[in-house]
Every structure is written in structure tokens, then in C-alpha cells.
């Protein structure tokens, strides 16, 4: 099946990720996996759920406060976006989670795609009750064939709910990975997201978030690790639709080899959403001469009593820092790795829980060692 109607670079939101050029062929829709799948990450004590080739697998008994269910239909709001349309058109079975109280174990959802090249579409809907808290980890992995994964999630946070949502893309080298995450926050909700891209030939992860209640706060963070032949795109659209809401966006992109890293970040403050404080930062680090980093941080502000800003930097490792570390006996190789890890720390360190933190650090270590 060849693809018609994919966005070109003339479509503003796909300016740096021209799907018409990048996505030539879409494989047939996935069939049930013929072999057992193994999750890409292990977090001690996590409650694990598996979506294999788009099909929800049965799980062990859910821990207290977690209700696992199924639903039909699209999870995402209607919007003019090709990935949203495609997910809505093909998603069949939707995994739903209802979370109440303080959910203790990390909820881990592993999306594994095995076998021949397949088009995998799945979706996830999570309701977090008022005053509930949870940590949700999603991983994406599978066999190294030309899969296309189109994953969608909708996460609604109740009043004063506290959620950490982490997505780790460890898809194999030949694959294409699309993810669209939608968030709705009401009064007092606190959200932290972390998107780590360390896989796939072509990735695009989209975040659409809207603050609908006063006092809500969110940290949107991400780590875009790209290496030879990869094109990874993180696009976020954060809408402050209520007064006294705050957000911080912190994204780090590291590119090596001949690769492309794309960040598009938009903060919108709607009319009458006064006293909003929103700050976005993109930092790019280039480790090779053929690396390309693109950044489009946008502000669209319709309320006057706000403090909003963004910053974007792009550069290589600082020579003076390397010299300083070397002057203390650290070799150049070690010095460079130390600086890269220091650069990343800001987005990894706030993730709480030793087992989880260790798992995420192992992803970074893996990338740094190129395994």
C-alpha cells in the first residue's frame, strides 16, 4: 500500500519531518504475534502490562487502586493531524486504566512488535481519580523489521492528582515510531512527562496538553538521542486554558553521526488565562559534524498578565570544560562522556524511585556505549 495524503514540509507542523518523503511504504496491519515478547526494560517491582503487535495481553492481578479494562474507539480528541487520523481509523482495542489512591508499584506498559514488518496501531486511555497518584512507564520495542507503530494515549488527571508518565522508545533500527499523547489537567493536578527517544529510524512523538483548572502544574521533559541514519522529532503543544497554571518544558537533544533531531514546542496562553507562568527550554548538543538539530520553540500569548519565555541553544561540548576535566587526570573520552551525562542529568534526576531511575540510566548508558 502506498501512502497518499501524508503531510509535506509545506504543512507547518511537519516542516522538519516531511512524511511524504520519509514514509514511502506502509506495511499491512499487524497480526497476532507468533512468538512471546520480552519487555525492553525491567523495573523491579513494576506491575507489567503487555501490548503485543497491537493486541492487549492478559496480565497478572492488578495492584490496589488499578482497574484494567478495554474499550473501543478513538482515545484522542479530534484534531487536524495525520497521525491522530490514522490512529483513530485503525485502532481497534483500547486498553483502559482507572487509577485510584496512591498506586504504589510503577505501572509498566510494554508495546512489543515482533515478526515481519507490520503496521501496529494501539491506544491507551488512563483516568487518574482526584487525589490519586501513579507512575506510568511505557516502553516500545520489538523485532528489527520495517514496522510502523502508531501509538496513542489519553491521560486525564483529576483534581490534585499526581502523575509521572515516562515513554521510552527503544524500537529497533529499521522501524518507524509514532506516538501521540494527550493530557487533560484539572485544578491542582501535577504532571511530569519524560519522553526518551533512543530507537527507530524515524520517530515522531507528539504531546497535546491542556490545562483546564487553576493551580495545575506540569513538567514536560524529553531526551532525544539520535545517531547515524535516524530522524527523531518531538513536537509538543501546551495550552494554558485556565488562570494560575504553570508549566516547564525541558528538552535535550543529542545528535551524533549523520542524524537529525527535531524539536517543535508551542506554548499557547488562551485569552483570560491570566497569571500563567510557562517556560520552555530546548538544548541541543552535537557530537558529530554531520549532525543536524532543528528547533522551533513557539509562544502564542493572548493574555497579558503572564510570564512566559523560551530558550533554545545549540552547540558542541565546551572545550574549556573538557580541558578542566582533563587537567584533573580524566582522559578525553571520559571527560566527554562525563559532560554528556551532566547535560542529561537535568531531565533524568527528577524521576524518583531508585529502580526506575536505574532503568532509565541504563537506557542512556546503552546509547552512550552504542550497544
Amino acid at each position: 500500500m502506498t501512502v497518499a495524503g501524508l503531510p509535506t514540509r509545506r504543512v507547518e507542523s511537519y516542516h522538519y519531518t516531511d512524511l511524504k518523503t520519509l514514509l514511502r511504504v506502509v506495511p499491512p496491519l499487524a497480526k497476532a504475534a507468533s512468538q512471546a515478547s520480552a519487555p525492553a526494560l525491567r523495573v523491579a517491582g513494576a506491575f507489567q502490562l503487555m501490548i503485543a503487535n497491537g493486541a492487549i495481553q492478559s496480565s497478572t492481578a492488578a495492584p490496589a487502586g488499578v482497574i484494567v479494562g478495554h474499550a473501543k474507539g478513538s482515545v484522542l480528541s479530534k484534531r487536524d493531524d495525520v497521525l491522530v487520523h490514522l490512529n483513530g481509523a485503525f485502532a481497534k482495542d483500547c486498553l483502559t486504566l482507572t487509577l485510584e489512591g496512591n498506586v504504589d508499584p510503577v505501572i509498566q506498559i510494554d508495546h512489543c512488535t515482533e515478526g515481519d514488518a507490520a503496521h501496529v496501531v494501539d491506544s491507551l486511555k488512563i483516568f487518574v481519580a482526584d487525589n490519586a497518584s501513579a507512575v506510568i512507564l511505557e516502553t516500545f520495542s520489538g523485532s528489527d523489521t520495517a514496522h510502523i507503530g502508531n501509538h496513542a494515549s489519553y491521560l486525564a488527571l483529576g483534581k490534585n492528582a499526581i502523575v509521572t508518565h515516562i515513554m521510552v522508545n527503544l524500537s529497533a533500527k529499521a522501524t518507524t515510531h509514532f506516538a501521540t499523547n494527550e493530557y487533560a489537567l484539572v485544578a491542582g493536578a501535577k504532571l511530569r512527562t519524560l519522553t526518551i527517544h533512543a530507537g527507530a529510524a524515524l520517530s515522531r512523538s507528539q504531546v497535546f496538553a491542556r490545562f483546564a483548572g487553576e493551580g495545575a502544574h506540569a513538567d514536560f521533559t524529553g531526551l532525544n538521542l539520535v545517531e547515524d541514519g535516524q530522524h527523531n522529532d518531538i513536537t509538543i503543544d501546551i495550552r494554558h486554558g485556565a488562570a494560575h497554571t504553570t508549566s516547564q518544558e525541558m528538552y535535550k537533544q543529542i545528535a551524533r553521526g549523520r542524524s537529525k533531531a527535531v524539536f517543535q514546542g508551542k506554548i499557547v496562553v488562551e485569552r483570560d488565562a491570566q497569571k500563567v507562568d510557562a517556560k520552555m527550554m530546548m538544548q541541543g548538543l552535537m557530537l558529530s559534524d554531520q549532525a543536524e538539530i532543528f528547533s522551533k520553540p513557539e509562544l502564542e500569548i493572548y493574555a497579558d498578565d503572564v510570564v512566559c519565555g523560551h530558550g533554545s541553544t545549540c552547540g558542541k561540548l565546551d572545550e574549556d570544560s573538557i580541558f578542566y576535566l582533563m587537567s584533573r587526570g580524566i582522559s578525553k573520552v571520559e571527560a566527554e562522556i562525563m559532560l554528556v551525562r551532566g547535560f542529561i542529568a537535568e531531565v533524568l534526576d527528577p524521576i524518583e524511585g531508585e529502580a526506575l531511575n536505574e532503568a532509565l540510566n541504563s537506557v542512556v548508558d546503552g546509547w552512550l556505549q552504542g550497544v
Binding site: R328, V333, R341
Partner: protein, 321 residues
Amino acid sequence: MSSLPEINVIELLELGVVRIHNRKPGGSASIELKRPPPPASNSGSRLDVIEGRAPDKPMAATPERADKMTAPILEIRNLHARIEEREILKGVNLIIPPGKVHAIMGRNGSGKSTLSYVLAGKEDYEITEGEVLLNGQNLLEMDPSERAAAGLFQAFQYPIEIPGVATMTFLKAAMNAQRKARGEVEMSTPDFMRAVKIAGTDLQIDTGMLKRPLNVGFSGGEKKRAEVLQMALLQPKMCILDETDSGLDIDALQVVSKSINALRSVGRSMLMITHYQRLLNHIVPDVVHVFSDGKIVESGDKDLALQLEAKGYADFDGAAA
């Protein structure tokens, strides 16, 4: 952040994460040990007869004296260096024997800080002439980390801030990298923690400070104390202290100089680079040199610093011409 992972250099090289640098296995093994030429008995400035300035030209050997002398730790001969087209060091000669503390004084822009960067191996400078020996090893052939492993330590005037890297993580990495380069076993974490604790106490450095990213948000005094802590831990043979007193109030200056004095020993030499005499009241040097227009123009004992303080540098400008 957890400690550094095991690093496979070859893999990283293949991946293009890092560039190749000319590290020689075995460190100094290939470098020829040179015997220092002995000083002449009565030429050059008055200090040559004691120690300090190396003569501009090699002198005839006087074996009797040389045998009595101990081999110098640092030996700089006719060192010329430039940045872009501008020559900054114009023939520096200096010999520092073991256990001695030398001070270089000079006005801003005289090139004294350049000397410290050239010794530590900063790439921006081009060495056009001369040689530098550290314990008889050719320093100029080594990269900065090899120099450190060989025993050279520079306390920077402006320590670099490294975001995201906890001071403790950095200290451990530096310590073990040097030990590894010297073929010594790595220090265990409890031993390391103990060493840090002991060294930190005198400097009034607590574990809270060590958990913070290296130098990030440190006050001027904290930065300087962190530099001296590194010096105490790494146990170098040759310390270069570049304007260590700048940015220190009088209390901090006392803390820092007390720690530096405690590090003075038979096996460790120091070179203090300073603009003001103030520091020298706290760390009394064996020899004082006046630096002007890219070279040493006068040498003497600690009283020379007092003279300078009283008269200023103007008297010495002519000597540089």
C-alpha cells in the same frame, strides 16, 4: 547520579562519540629522562646561586655542585608561546626543586596566567620554542590528563562550572583515572569517602556541597576551596596556584592558605601566580620571581615581594626590554 560506567574506549571511538587523542600506553615509559644541567656559580641574577632561574643558555657542567643538588621537579627552559599571532611568553626560564614554593608576581597582562595554562596544556597556545620537564619527563608532549597523572596540578583562577556532574562523582572519577594511568589500583568507595571527609574538614567543605554539581552556583570562596580540596585529594607533585587569593575574603583566605600550607612537603613543589603580595603573607614562598612582558626579569627571596608592594612594578619594566 550514579558513578561513571566502565568505559570501553575502542567502542566509543568506533561509534564516533569521541575523537582519537594521542595517548601513549604506559604513560611516560617512552620518554627519556633528562638530567638537569647544573646552575652556574656566578652569573645571571643573584638568585641563580641559590636556586630558581635557569640560565638562558646551557652552562658548562660543574659535576661537584650538580651532585649535591636534588633533581628539580619542574624545569622550564627558554619557553616561548603565542596565541594566534601574538607572542606572550618570550623566553621563560625557571627551575623549581622538590619541596620548594616559588611565587611569580606580575602585573595584569604580563603573561603569568598564560604560563600556567601552557604548563597545564591548554590547546589555544602554540609553543614556538623551549622545553618543560616535569620530573625529567617532557611535559609538552603530554595531553592535559597525562600531565595530571604525571603529578601536575593547576588550581584555576576561574574554575569551570560543569552542570549535571556532582562534585563527588567528579572527584572519584579524577582520582581513579589518575591512579589507573599510573598503574595503581582504584580506590574503594569507603576509602575514597574517608579521604574526602578528612580533606574536606579543614577546608570546611561538607557533603552537601559535594553533592552539588561541580562549581555550579558556588561562591568565589567555595570554588577556591573546592580547588584546594582537589589538590589535597590528588596529591600532586607540582602545584600551580593561579591567583588563588582572588575572590576570597580574609576568613576564606586563611582557611585556604592553611590547607595549602599543610600540603607543603618535601615531595611537593608549588608555583604561586599572583598579582598581590597579600597571599604571600599567608603562604610564605622560598623564592619570588617578577614577571614582565613574557619573562622572568628579577628573582629574590620573599623580601622581593615586599619591595614590589612598596614600589610597584615600574622599576622592573626596563629589565624586560
